[in-house]
């Protein structure tokens, strides 16, 4: 293409170059949009996963639970605690002659503690008296 032709089609050339500029700018915008669409979802998922892990571990991997579970022994009179065996990260406890209030107390303490309840049995041993057994781990 010689200078002559360039001169001849100068206007078309300017319009063509500016049109190319628009097209490239539009492609840039599209690529930015797809980049964000793809990465935003990924980043948000990563953030959500990490936050979930942090919360789950905080709840179900509480290192202080070994101390905290001791309260289950003192929540009722010691005469009503038939057995209380804590081994490593596992607790087996048995209560007898609990009144309805005492049963509520122990149950509430248990369910408000972030332990995994492996088994739980509550029986009415006599009128308004209950026995309770549970095993939990953490």
């Amino acid at each position: 293409m010689n200078l002559m032709t360039l001169q001849r089609y100068k206007n078309e050339l300017i319009v063509f170059i500016s049109l190319l500029f628009v097209l490239f700018a539009y492609l840039y915008k599209l690529s930015a949009y797809s980049y964000v669409k793809e990465n935003k979802a990924k980043i948000e998922q990563q953030i959500s996963e990490i936050n979930t892990i942090v919360n789950l571990k905080k709840e179900w991997d509480d290192k202080t639970l070994t101390k905290k579970v001791k309260v289950l022994k003192t929540v009722v009179a010691s005469s009503k605690v038939k057995s209380f065996t804590k081994r490593s990260k596992k607790l087996t406890a048995s209560y007898i002659s609990l009144t309805a209030n005492e049963l509520n107390k122990v149950t509430n303490k248990l369910i408000n503690m972030p332990v995994q309840i492996t088994s739980l049995t509550i029986k009415e041993s006599s009128k308004n008296k209950y026995s309770m057994e549970f095993t939990c781990k953490w």
């Binding site: 100068k10 490239f24 930015a32 789950l56 369910i111 739980l120 029986k123 209950y130």
Partner: protein, 306 residues
């Protein structure tokens, strides 16, 4: 025809030419109408805006004219020309329009043409009262000698381009309009693209901060494995606790718990009710909480999979 290297005088009686290079053409008054006016305007574009009205009484209204203006001493020199007519004439003389790099007007050589020059045998070109004019040779004295003018040595400014008005499919006005629109649009797209890209910078920073605090969670495999361990625990334990709470809501002075057991994936309870009305009420409430209910007179057994 006068040919001086890459510059040509264009007049009606010129001979056809063969060109293989670009030329600058100088139009003789046969191809333009010239007016010199003293106007109170400062800029060329202002003068150009009123050019058409100045030529109202001089031009054929059936044709479309282009205008060229420049400042000559203390006045404005206006030219009206019909580019189509010039183009047709040039083609008839073998000059392709893309060969024309610049167009000048003979009027621009008014000082050089104070002495006449010979265009061809029939015509001469001379400045008369400040205006360049074509004069038939027969009106001149027979023994008059003509000046030799070397066009290529002349300094000419304020020329116009053929491309600006005829060669292009798109006019200069349209070019400016279109390219301005495209440039604005393009700039908007780029700004928008940058804005879109920066919209995830907050999330990116948040993630970086989280990973700095918990570097072990960088790997998606580790995250997946931890989630697979804790999510079922969380789900089951919440379900167990919710079921215990639901069963406790079924209890009252007239409906008492006689047995409750959580084992493996099931929670079961026996509730003793004092009469049929309470029994029905407990039954209805238990079902509302999605318990499987077995009625045995006043004894109600509820069960749910965890």
């Amino acid at each position: 025809m006068e040919k001086r290297d890459n510059r040509l005088f264009i007049h009606r009686d010129m001979e056809p030419v063969v060109l293989n290079h670009s030329v600058e053409i100088i139009l003789t008054p046969q191809f333009y109408t010239f007016i010199r006016e003293s106007l109170d305007v400062k800029f060329t574009y202002q003068a150009k805006q009123i050019a058409a009205s100045l030529f109202d009484d001089y031009l054929d209204t059936s044709k479309e004219y282009q205008y060229h203006v420049y400042k000559c001493e203390n006045e404005w020199c206006f030219f009206a020309y019909n580019i189509d007519e010039i183009d047709q004439f040039l083609e008839s003389r073998g000059i392709e329009k893309h060969r024309v790099s610049k167009i000048y007007f003979a009027q621009q050589l008014s000082s050089e043409l104070e002495e006449p020059i010979e265009l061809n045998e029939k015509n001469i070109l001379q400045t008369i009262d400040g205006t360049v004019t074509i004069i038939p040779s027969r009106f001149m004295e027979s023994n008059l000698s003509y000046k030799a003018l070397n066009l290529s040595e002349l300094k000419l400014t304020s020329g116009i381009t053929m491309g600006g008005s005829l060669n292009s499919f798109i006019s200069l006005k349209e070019t400016i309009l279109l390219s301005s629109i495209f440039l604005i649009l393009g700039s908007i797209f780029i700004v928008e693209g940058n804005r879109i890209k920066s919209s995830i910078s907050n999330e990116d920073e948040k993630l970086t901060a989280l990973l700095d605090e918990n570097p072990t969670y960088t790997s998606s495999m580790i995250r997946k494995s931890i989630l697979e361990k804790y999510r079922p625990i969380d789900k089951k334990e919440r379900s167990k606790r919710q079921s215990i709470k639901d069963i406790s809501k079924l209890l009252s002075a007239k409906s008492q718990l006689s047995w409750l057991m959580i084992k493996k994936e099931t929670i079961q309870a026996d509730i003793e009710t004092s009469n049929k009305t309470i029994s029905k009420q407990v039954n209805r409430n238990a079902k509302a909480k999605n318990f499987k209910v077995i009625n045995n007179k006043l004894n109600i057994k509820v069960e749910k999979k965890i």
